[in-house]
Symmetry: C2
Subunit: 343 residues, 2 copies
């Protein structure tokens, strides 16, 4: 059976994550996870003439580093699945041009990394591809000027706001063994409880995250007990607290098994307010910190839930609220995953 | 074997297109294909307060009509794969909120309809879904003001420009029989020959279209002779002529077997200059006219090549050229498809 319940895909030949990489900007490189990144850029322009070009470069670097780790060249990769936050996802498009890997562009806002890992796993598990790279990027300054105000204006940010992570994550998903396994995935619905404050995206996305987590439990019969870690993408402090409440209201007691990439990536002293956000938030934490911990065996089975706020500045100006989406993926330690399945 | 050559997926259990629908604006409803559309909107606002909201409504209508034809409700569909041209693909996001079908957002510019049909076919053929809706939309006025100038300004358009189609196409892809079959698909690379004129997108996309068509031939051993029709998404008159030249230079003589949705959808008297464009161009021609002709048996096997220009206004302002991408899908008449495979 390749689907459980309504929304969960079960991979019969769980694809392996052969390698992964996380490239970040200088601020992220000073944060608590600094030792888990493969490359920290010296500045936010990365030698380019614009932040947009810098973001595209970071994304390419992340893909190249992931491939270098296993001595693969871009032309040996079957497909690239990637996306980002910029209008018309230009970081991914231009990176795909440079890498010359057959390309499928995705847009799931900050859930894009997990969306690309899910579809990449489908292509590999289903036998359509041997090797797929899943990747996503974001950049603080490109996001600020596109969604809010140009950084140069120095507009004050409310304490509910999150800091878009500058960085990119990439992982090489392939058939066979040689790394953590992607064993199942839950594709989310768009959920909208009516929040209109674009400075509180975490709260807007929390209901979607909880819907996907609980749907995964319903579909598979699993519970919190079956996971060492359940981690959302970028709900940050407000959204995480709300998600926790919503989970508890439904009878799930996540306790300290539940965490959020947007909280892990920055230190409260870094003045990012509620925490991190952006496609790169879940991408670099998953491809760096989380992958290291699942490889080491600290986590035997975890669920990473990419969370996306599906607004645009235009939709907000036209009076719309902010819908959220969340896609979940279950990653298991390579040695542990068969035993875990018996549970 | 589920993949042939480098870039072509072969569907072992070719998914059926159980139903499809095409909804268009008034201008398209006056064009040569008017009898092939399911619904022609009376005006471009469709009773909404903005063109963006109208586009979202058109997309929802297209999905509902496709489902109504086979007496299905949105909650009976496993997954929705959709995208559009607007920043952050808001038409698809808000439509997915209203339809409440688990959702994967895509961005492939005007290739999005074919990208969604490919990934939808993978999910169904691979056994991960029983029913998937693939859909895409565009709207002339939302595209004009986002990419070029607000329609109200009345800026003169050069003769190389194309007219973004107002409309949406949707098709229901399912396992089993009951409609035309999707038998294979070729995922394209990003190709960029350096064109920077955003008023000549057809020429920018033509090299990608030809790359995907010839890759499909290389991967499968098929040739022009194996198809009744090879049709590109929205190269329009300039791009089509260029694609034809490039194909001939490689020894392929497409003759009158090769056509383009952007040429079919408007009449030269409609003052659209080079022809139609936008996600909806290939979407409504495929889901309307082409599907009728493949159902009737006029075409036994065709390849539809969705073509996308992967620029943004920002990337052009920063001096970038316009990269193109093209994804191809092979659709066969239900009764003919097994014989065709023997070829």
């Amino acid at each position: 059976m390749k689907r459980a319940g309504k929304q969960t895909l079960i991979f019969q030949n769980p694809p392996a994550i052969l390698s992964s990489s996380a490239v970040v900007g200088p601020k992220e490189g000073e944060g608590p996870l600094k030792k888990t990144f493969d490359l920290v850029m010296k500045d936010t322009l990365c030698g380019e003439k614009s932040w947009e070009k810098a973001e595209c470069k970071i994304l390419q670097e992340a893909v190249k580093i992931a491939l270098n780790k296993v001595d693969l060249k871009p032309e040996q990769v079957d497909f690239l699945l990637a996306g980002d936050l910029l209008n018309q996802t230009i970081s991914a498009n231009y990176a795909a041009r440079q890498l010359a890997i057959p390309f499928l562009g995705l847009y799931g806002a900050c859930s894009t990394m997990i969306e690309s890992m899910i579809l990449g796993s489908v292509l590999v598990d289903g036998g359509y591809a041997d090797t797929v790279v899943a990747a996503a990027s974001s950049h603080h300054d490109t996001a600020e000027r596109q969604y809010r105000f140009p950084s140069e204006l120095g507009v004050q940010r409310p304490l509910t706001a999150q800091w878009t992570v500058t960085g990119a994550g990439a992982c090489l998903i392939a058939k066979g063994s040689g790394g953590p396994r992607i064993t199942s995935a839950t594709i989310g619905k768009v959920i909208d409880l009516g929040i209109k404050d674009q400075n509180d995206m975490g709260s807007a996305m929390a209901p979607a995250a909880v819907d996907t987590i609980t749907q995964h439990f319903q579909d598979t019969g699993h519970s919190m007990d079956d996971f060492d870690l359940i981690i959302t993408g970028d709900l940050a402090s407000l959204g995480k607290a709300l998600a926790q409440q919503l989970l508890e209201r439904q009878g799930y007691l996540p306790g300290d098994k539940y965490s959020d990439c947007g909280i892990l990536i920055f230190d409260p002293t870094q003045d990012t307010h509620a925490g991190g956000s952006g496609c790169a938030c879940s991408a670099v934490v998953t491809c760096g910190y989380l992958m290291q911990n699942i490889r080491s065996g600290r986590y035997k089975r975890m669920m990473v839930i990419g969370t996306g706020a599906l607004l645009s500045p235009v939709s907000l100006l036209q009076g719309e609220s902010i819908p959220g989406i969340a896609h979940g993926i279950v990653i298991e330690n390579e040695n542990g995953y068969r035993d875990q399945k018996e549970m």
